[in-house]
Amino acid sequence: MRVEQIAVFLENRSGRLAEITSIIAENNINIRALSVADTADFGILRLIVDKVEEAEKALKEKGFTVGKTTVIAVEVPDRTGGLAEVLDCVQKIGLNVEYMYAFVNKTGENAVLIFRFDDMTMAIDSLQANGFTILESSQVYNL
């Protein structure tokens, strides 16, 4: 149920993001989802890739600071209100969202929402209990 995500520390300098994506590409790793959180000085890049270990190793070798965390991927139909339903449920349960980002899968039928909650176990249990589909990690890596 849990998906591994890598996070990379990024200074706000031009070309840094391009550098990371080229390293990933050189190692034949596919990026499934990506988000950047930034401040005036620095940013945190979060990536979901098909080969987590390889990506982590390649980036570390090039001198990047890399962290690994787990997130969950919730699948919702790609239609109006899809996200709202999930967030509504999250709020009712009282879950705390640390961050989230979304992408639409290849077929375009479903959207995938990536969540990091403060209480991941409770999040998985209650989202499932409310009928939401949580993707297996292998499903996410191979999307």
């Binding site: 995500q5 996070a7 520390f9 990024l10 200074e11 840094r16 959180a37 401040t39 000085d41 620095f42 945190i44 979060r46 001198g63 990047f64 600071t65 890399v66 962290g67 965390t69 640390e98 961050y99 990091r116």
Partner: protein, 431 residues
């Protein structure tokens, strides 16, 4: 284990002994050393008026430059015929300084080294390998004579040739190693390359000095060589090694206070710092015959550790040397030592941090920015936690330095790597 009874002297008795010895030293330098005679005269100091130890604060300081100005023999308090040994500092930071010893000085020195060796656990049963250079540098001969005085079996191998050091260590069954801490790590590296397991050696003790090191290095040396690693301190201008050394509790260095009077002073105001605060170590010799110094400014930074040590020695302890006054910065009028920043970051990160300190002056106000390379232990995927970490570092630095700083995180390996201490500071102030 103690070498002599002075180590457990009652505090009052020690103070009396110190005063008596200080009065004699000051009297002798006033008579025999023109430098002091002139200085005392200039400052209108009546050497007979030293009634309490605190009166030392009326006496002038001695600096490295004073010693240089009197090169080579100007500071000697005895005629050369009474000098049996001459050593010299390396002169890497300027002109060399020359120091001399009478036979009695050598005896005192040997006893103080024997004391430090004993405190570190070494005894007459030990085989001690001295990998300090033998020569004008005080390290080799200083340790050598002291180890002989103690009755240990001395291997005077001197420095260098690491493979041979290891070979001898194995063949001669060395139990105690004397060298610089960085050389101990070098030995460990070469052993690893050669596939030698340090556990197969007879090594038990390592006595390290002559350069600054850290608690992390101690852990690494102890782990890798399987020894009890203790720190010792000295400087040739005062005597050489033997001024202070750690006991087996490894909790700071006991100063041989019956032979050296220490003061810890603010390097700018030259007033004593509060006990436990970092300041410059200033030493007056109490028993030296050939080369006595009064209030010698070591430029080494340390702090007093006022709590009594469980070992029972009454000599007070100082923390390992944490830096040099030469590195000190004055920011918004506050004395800041880069090494303080280092230890705070080490505390937070758990690793040797890479940082630069940038000082700028904007509208007549000093602005300090600490640029820190992010390592995994302080990196988070959540922005909230990341910013909290930055705030936390900022607060700790401000609290301990006594001056507010900006903190900026930068990518790993993005800061320039400097050689040498203090070089991490980029002072852009134009004053």
């Amino acid at each position: 284990m103690f070498w002599d009874k002075n180590e457990q002297m009652a505090v009052d008795d020690l103070a009396r002994l110190q005063l008596d010895r200080l009065q004699r030293t000051v009297g002798r330098v006033a008579t025999h050393v023109p430098f002091y005679r002139n200085k005392f005269k200039e400052d209108k100091i009546d050497v007979e008026s030293l009634a309490r130890l605190d009166d030392i604060r009326r006496l002038p300081f001695t600096t490295k430059q004073d010693l240089r100005n009197n090169y080579p023999y100007g500071m000697f308090a005895v005629p050369l015929r009474d000098v049996v040994r001459i050593h010299s500092s390396s002169g890497t930071t300027g002109m060399a300084t020359v120091v001399g010893y009478t036979q009695k000085d050598i005896d005192t020195w040997s006893n103080l080294i024997a004391r430090i060796l004993t405190a570190a656990g070494v005894s007459t049963h030990d085989v001690i390998q001295i990998a300090f250079g033998y020569g004008l540098f005080t390290g080799g001969f200083g340790l050598h004579y002291g180890a002989e005085k103690l009755g240990a079996s001395v291997i005077p191998i001197s420095s260098g040739n690491t493979r041979r050091q290891i070979q001898i260590m194995q063949d001669f069954k060395t139990t105690a190693l004397v060298c610089t801490p960085s050389y101990a790590l070098k030995i460990a590296d070469v052993m690893m390359d050669q596939g030698i397991n340090p556990n197969g050696l007879s090594l038990k003790f390592g006595l390290f000095g002559a350069e600054p090191w850290s608690e992390k290095m101690r852990e690494e040396i102890s782990d890798r060589l399987g020894i009890l690693a203790t720190d010792n301190y000295g400087l040739s201008e005062v005597m050489g090694p033997g001024v202070a050394g750690e006991c087996q509790h490894c909790n700071g260095l006991h100063v041989n206070e019956d032979h050296f009077l220490m003061e810890i002073l603010d390097p700018v105001s030259l007033e004593p710092v509060e006990p436990g605060e970092v300041g410059e170590l200033v030493i007056s010799t109490l028993t030296k015959e050939a080369f006595p110094v009064v209030r010698y400014r070591t430029r080494d930074l340390t702090r007093l550790l006022p709590e009594p040590c469980p070992c029972g020695r009454t000599f007070r302890r100082i923390e390992r040397i944490t830096g040099r006054t030469d590195d000190m910065l004055i920011i918004k009028g506050v004395n800041v030592f880069p090494t303080q920043i280092e230890s705070i970051l080490f505390d937070i990160e758990g690793t040797q941090p890479h940082y630069n300190l940038i000082i700028e002056r904007e509208s007549n106000e000093d602005q300090v920015t600490v640029m820190i390379e992010v390592v995994e232990s302080i990196f988070f995927d959540e922005m909230k936690k990341q910013r909290t970490m930055v705030d936390h570092i900022k607060k700790r630095l401000a609290a301990e330095l006594g001056v507010g700083v900006n903190v900026k995180l930068v990518e790993e390996r993005s800061l320039e790597r400097f050689n040498g201490k203090g070089a991490r500071v980029i002072d852009k102030r134009e004053i």
